[in-house]
């Protein structure tokens, strides 16, 4: 195989249990977002747009849907001769049995042979559950310019929230001098985004050692980075300032969807120079009936709206019957709201049906209601 400059590995193993019933049948990275996307479309499209052609997706939990979704690398144009998206699950080897990935670093360690097959100079480690647009090629240029062993993407967080994050303390030139996980008294507001570029030769050596270490959790943040700092390796912080969202909870997933209604929204999915690619089916345009009343909305093709929609995000193939109301809500693909039903401050999961005249959600509820099962109608 041809030599690749930088190969990406997406850590997509997360069960995402804080997303409750949304991840019962799909891994978290396959959860729907933004009218037509899945979360993992973001790192994958970023890779495609940054010219990163080989992407490994590491997963072990309920991977059938995620697997068949990402295996069709053509969605992101990653299906040419020298490109591809490869799903990497734990496997039996000549010298080892089948074993789960014990941590983020172990997931890479178990696939050293895969990485070696492409002989990359650099490796990009990504997380499968963040919504953002980022040019990894620019980050690589920075990594090279700095002559770093590792470069970690960071973003500024409000100082008062900094103690909730992994904080990087840097010298004046972007070099990381200290890493503190959830520091009580943060010295900086630069939070790690869980995006790393390593020089592969350096990382490979560390991983081999880490695998043998019985006291390691085999985690990048807890084990690999501290060891590197300890060894005096050059770690640099790459500052990112753009839309970024961890959609780990129902509330944050709802919020991230609602952000799209903001016309100044930095994510700008309409920017054709940095498209987010996804499964794009040849269905009909959205049908807006004579009875429809749309206030503010973000609606995808295939949807049919006969009722009222206010400040909501409506995914592919949703149906909102005449007389139904959807307010401050997110309707995932194929959700159906029947006549007279009212959905307020809710996130309705894929293919869920809200029956006639049913009322779900509360205008004043503090948390967003997840509706993951059909709701019976009332006559």
């Amino acid at each position: 195989m041809a030599q690749t400059s930088m190969l990406a590995m997406i850590l997509a193993g997360g069960r995402g249990s804080r997303l409750h019933d949304l991840t019962n049948k799909v891994a978290k990275p396959a959860v729907s977002y933004g009218g037509k996307y899945r979360i993992i479309d973001f790192p994958l499209s970023n890779c495609a747009n940054s010219g990163v052609d080989i992407v490994g997706v590491l997963t072990q939990y309920e991977s059938v849907l995620l697997n068949s979704y990402v295996a069709a690398g053509g969605r992101w144009g990653l299906d040419t001769k020298d490109s591809g998206v490869f799903v990497l699950t734990p496997r039996e080897k000549a010298d080892s049995g089948l074993d789960v990935y014990r941590g983020t670093a172990d997931a890479i360690s178990q696939n050293i042979d895969f990485v070696d097959a492409y002989d990359p100079e650099y490796i990009l480690i990504l997380s499968g559950d963040h919504i953002y647009k980022m040019n990894y090629d620019k980050m690589l240029t920075y990594h090279k310019e700095q002559g770093a062993d590792a470069t970690i993407a960071v973003r500024g967080v409000p100082m008062k929230e900094a103690s909730r994050f992994g904080i990087m303390n840097t010298d004046g030139n972007g070099r990381i001098i200290e890493f503190e996980e959830k520091p009580a008294k943060p010295k900086s507001n630069l939070a790690s985004m869980g995006i790393y570029i390593f020089t592969w030769k350096t990382l490979r050596k560390l991983l081999v050692e880490d695998m043998k270490n019985p006291n390691s959790d085999h985690d990048f943040g807890k084990d690999i980075i501290p060891v590197m700092l300890n060894d005096g390796k050059k770690l640099c912080a790459y500052e990112f300032s753009g839309y970024w969202k961890d959609v780990g909870t129902i509330d944050s997933l709802w919020e991230a969807n609602m952000d799209l209604l903001d016309s100044d929204n930095e994510l700008d999915l309409d920017d054709t120079s940095w498209k987010i690619y996804t499964e794009d089916s040849g269905i009909t345009p959205q049908y807006i009936a004579s009875t429809a009343k749309i206030d503010e909305a973000y609606i995808n093709q295939g949807a049919a709206v006969g009722g009222t929609v206010q400040r909501s995000v409506i995914f592919t193939n949703c149906k909102i019957a005449p007389g139904a109301k959807v307010i401050d809500s997110v309707l995932m693909p194929g959700a159906i709201v029947e006549e007279g039903a009212v959905v307020t401050r809710a996130l309705v999961a894929e293919n869920v049906r809200i029956g006639k005249n049913a009322k779900v959600g509360e205008k004043k509820s503090e948390e967003i209601l997840l509706v993951a099962k059909n709701v019976k109608g009332e006559d």
Binding site: L260, T278, D280, T284, I288, A289, I294, D295, V313, I314
Partner: protein, 372 residues
């Protein structure tokens, strides 16, 4: 799988001209309800019928169609076992009387003769309908016809379908004649320019047409063969549109604003495939008012839209009103504009003109790339 037949998709005869739109692309490349291209329909019909060897004949200005069709993967045609071939003709002066389908077939006879299938299904790239060709083929073979011809019974043959052919049938559905629609009566059987026959007969008819006259079309030679061959009509039912004039194009789009008609036509068990572009969802701003319309992705709507079709990446400004119109992709309608009964081609910017209205039945047409 209908491996017994290959498909031929033909371009429109040289006497068909659709005002405006046709200056920029062949009819097969026309946008349909904002999202599809007309050629998606015959191609999807073939793919859904299990036909995986398809010839598409391209005439003038092939770029947009070549780009749209590409390798045909999105039509669900196996790229190894199947093959979607694009065929060209040298004789492509759009108005030349020699620019017939027969000329195109003759120039690519080697490709036709090399097809391993026994039967051929010929369908036009300028009509929109749904048809299971496998069923058509099975019926054709069972009935033992020489040629099976698809037709549609219409009751508006006076106003529309003026460039189409009319089929006269006897009691046994035998085709008695095939003649140009002169608009003499409301009720007519319109030929859908769709035929099933054996590959050998197809090639024999092409050669015969060529011998008889350099200006003959395939329909002409069919018309001349009514006496000698067993040509049987097969009635098509459901939505049918022949895109043979701006009026027809407009009406064909508007008919699908009827939810019932649309739902009957677009069914999950018979998908229509198209080339997709990863356009983001459509953003409806506060103040947008949209009713009875089909809206494509990546539009931004701040104004009012009624009984209209809005294409991809279209912007409708604040206070703008769009009624009974078709706005094609990338057009930008600025604040306060009033548009009624119009077809706005791609990449148009309506900036200074505040009103575009057609008073007649025929919609107003605004040219591609125009800035008004």
């Amino acid at each position: 799988m209908a491996n017994k037949a290959f498909g031929v998709i033909n371009s429109a005869p040289n006497y068909i001209r659709v005002e405006g739109l046709h200056d920029y692309r062949p009819i097969g490349a026309f946008t349909f309800i904002g999202r599809f291209r007309v050629i998606d329909f015959p191609l999807s019909n073939m793919s859904n019928s299990g036909i995986n060897r398809i010839h598409v004949y391209l005439n003038s200005r092939p770029r947009s169609l070549v780009e749209h069709i590409g390798s045909g993967r999105h039509y669900n045609i196996n790229s190894k076992r199947g093959n979607l071939q694009l065929l060209f003709t040298q004789q492509n002066g759009a108005n030349s009387i020699y620019n017939t389908d027969i000329t195109a077939y003759m120039e690519n006879l080697e490709q036709l003769e090399r097809m391993p299938q026994d039967y051929v299904i010929v369908a036009p790239s300028y009509m929109v309908y749904k048809q299971d060709f496998q069923k058509l083929l099975d019926d054709h073979v069972e009935a033992g016809n020489d040629i099976t011809l698809l037709y549609h019974k219409v009751d508006q043959a006076k106003e529309y379908y003026r460039a189409c052919n009319v089929v006269e049938l006897n009691k046994q559905k035998g085709v008695q004649s095939l003649t140009r629609n002169m608009g003499t009566a409301k009720d007519k059987n319109i030929s859908m320019d769709t035929y099933v026959m054996s590959k050998d007969l197809f090639i024999a008819l092409i050669k015969k047409a060529k011998r008889e006259s350099s200006a003959y079309s395939f329909a002409d030679i069919i018309a001349l063969s009514c006496d000698t061959l067993d040509i049987r009509g097969y009635q098509h039912k459901g939505y049918f549109a022949a895109i043979t004039s701006l009026d027809d194009f407009y009406r064909a789009n508007m008919e699908l604003l009827d939810y019932g008609t649309a739902m009957d036509f677009f069914k999950q068990d018979w998908p229509f495939y198209t080339h997709t572009t990863d356009a983001c969802p459509t953003h409806y701003y506060p103040g947008a008012k949209v009713v009875n319309s089909l809206v494509c992705n990546a539009a931004t709507i701040e104004g009012t839209v009624e009984n209209s079709i809005i294409g991809r990446h279209v912007h409708i400004g604040k206070g703008a009103i769009i009624k009974n119109s078709i706005i094609l992709s990338y057009s930008d309608i600025s604040d306060g504009t009033y548009i009624e009964n119009a077809v706005i081609d791609k990449w148009v910017k309506v900036k200074n003109v505040k009103k575009i209205v057609s008073e007649s039945v025929t919609p107003a047409y605004i040219k591609r790339n125009d800035v008004l």
